[in-house]
Structures are given as structure tokens and as C-alpha cells.
């Protein structure tokens, strides 16, 4: 549910919703939701002073993702 909610929230605010992919990764130190967006949209999902990224994290935490890390990366980034 968390991945789907996060994907919906991000898709609604970017110019290239089809490029949005959310992947959950379970690491030993906890769960990470990795959000991939079109390179042109990375600034948008981060927002001025990280404001949008913070809002996304706040909502994910509220929906039951306490301790879940949300990473925002663009599709060209290799990790």
C-alpha cells in the first residue's frame, strides 16, 4: 500500500508521470522506498529547500511507514 500511495502522490505532481517508479528495498537497517522520476522532475519532487521531499516523507510516515526511508532519484542515476 505504501509504495502505491507514494507512487500516486508523486505521479500527481510531476510532468512525466509515466516515468515514475517506486521500488521497495528491504535492507538490514530498514525499509527503503526508492522513487525514480524523470531527470526533469527531480527538482520538482525535491522542491524549494527540500520542502516537497519533506512533505512526501511526512505523509508516508503517517500512512504507517514509520522508519521507512524515502529516496528520490532520477531514472538516469545508477545506484
Amino acid at each position: 500500500m505504501l509504495e502505491e500511495a507514494l507512487e500516486h502522490l508523486v505521479k500527481g505532481i510531476v510532468e512525466n508521470p509515466d516515468d515514475v517508479k517506486v521500488r521497495a528495498r528491504n535492507l538490514r537497517r530498514g525499509r527503503i522506498l526508492e522513487v525514480r522520476v524523470h531527470p526533469d522532475d527531480l527538482g520538482k519532487v525535491i522542491g524549494r529547500g527540500g520542502r516537497t521531499a519533506r512533505a512526501l516523507r511526512t505523509v508516508v510516515t503517517a500512512l504507517g511507514g514509520r522508519g521507512v526511508r524515502v529516496d528520490l532519484v532520477d531514472v538516469d542515476q545508477v545506484r
Partner: protein
């Protein structure tokens, strides 16, 4: 961001007159916001209905407990959070979603489970009390730090009470000062 000191009269909702075009633009904002939020409620399996309105020159959208949900707010309170923290985050995202569709910056006001409505009442009472005290003593009163929404409610109430107010300081420590006549 620094807004400088804005006299409350400029933001008083009664001064705003809207054209039919403005209203339909604001109604459209409400529709986009409602779609965005409704889908979120569905995904999160939260029971809520959405009310739309145009108020004080802004689109206003409220998520209220769904029918048959007799607990006040119930699950929805998760979307409010401590001191409305989650509500502010959702409002921010919802404004961005509206902006994406319309290309215009939105000042849409979101409420969830009556949080802002209640907060508005409490703040109006606090502001009225401050107005009375300032009128009595002739001394300005500085209130505690508040969010932009909270300061707006206080400015409006002070203006209704016949006094002026200003905001000072930087976010998140920005506060309203009620000025003597």
C-alpha cells in the same frame, strides 16, 4: 521566505470580489484536488468524503469522515498528524497537483476531519482576547509563533475587532503582533 509586514486589512476575505471566471477556476482547482485526495484515500483504505467550496477567494477542500463512520475522524486523524503536520504536507502536495494541471499557483485550503475549523475557532477566541487586552492597556501584544494559516486567522479576527496587526520574525518563529489603535 520573508513576507515583510502585511497589514491584516489587505487579506481580509470580505474585501475579495470574485468574477464568475474566478469562481469556475477555483471550482476546477477543487475538482483536481478532490481527485488527487480521493485516490489517496482509496489506496490507503481510509474512509472519507470530500467537500468542496470556494471561500475567501480560495478553493477549499475538506476531507470528512465517511458515512457510517461514527468515530469523530477515526482513521482520518492519521492524515492530520501532530499539530496538523501531516495535513500541511498533504495541502502542499495537493497544491502542487493542482499547479501541475492548471499551470497556476494554487492557494487551495485543505482541511481534514475538521482540524482547521476547530483550530480557527480556538485562534479566533485567542485573538479576540488579545484585542480586548490591547484596547484596555494601549500596549501591543506579541502572540506565540504560528503557521501562515494560523496567523491569517488571527489577522482577520483582529481586523474584525477594529485593530491592526503585523507579523514579525522568520518562519517557523514568525508571530503576530496586535497593535493598539
Amino acid at each position: 521566505m520573508t513576507e515583510g509586514t502585511t497589514p491584516a486589512v489587505e487579506t481580509s476575505p470580505r474585501k475579495i470580489s470574485l468574477t464568475a471566471e474566478d469562481i469556475s477556476r477555483l471550482e476546477q482547482e477543487g475538482e483536481i484536488a478532490a481527485d488527487y485526495l480521493e485516490a489517496l484515500l482509496d489506496i490507503a483504505d481510509l474512509d472519507g468524503d470530500i467537500d468542496m467550496d470556494v471561500e475567501g477567494g480560495r478553493a477549499s477542500v475538506s476531507v470528512i469522515p465517511g458515512e457510517g463512520e461514527d468515530t469523530a475522524g477515526g482513521d482520518l486523524s492519521r492524515l492530520v498528524g501532530r499539530d496538523g503536520e501531516v495535513l500541511e504536507a498533504l495541502q502542499e502536495l495537493t497544491r502542487l497537483a493542482v499547479h501541475r494541471e492548471t499551470g497556476e499557483r494554487s492557494r487551495l485550503m485543505l482541511d481534514i476531519a475538521g482540524f482547521r475549523a476547530k483550530r480557527r475557532q480556538d485562534l479566533a477566541a485567542l485573538a479576540t482576547e488579545a484585542v480586548e487586552k490591547v484596547k484596555e492597556t494601549g500596549e501591543p501584544i506579541k502572540l506565540k509563533p504560528m503557521t501562515p494559516f494560523e496567523r491569517k486567522v488571527v489577522h482577520d479576527t483582529v481586523a474584525e475587532g477594529g485593530l491592526r496587526s503585523e507579523s514579525e520574525g522568520e518562519e517557523p518563529q514568525r508571530c503576530v503582533v496586535v497593535l493598539p489603535a
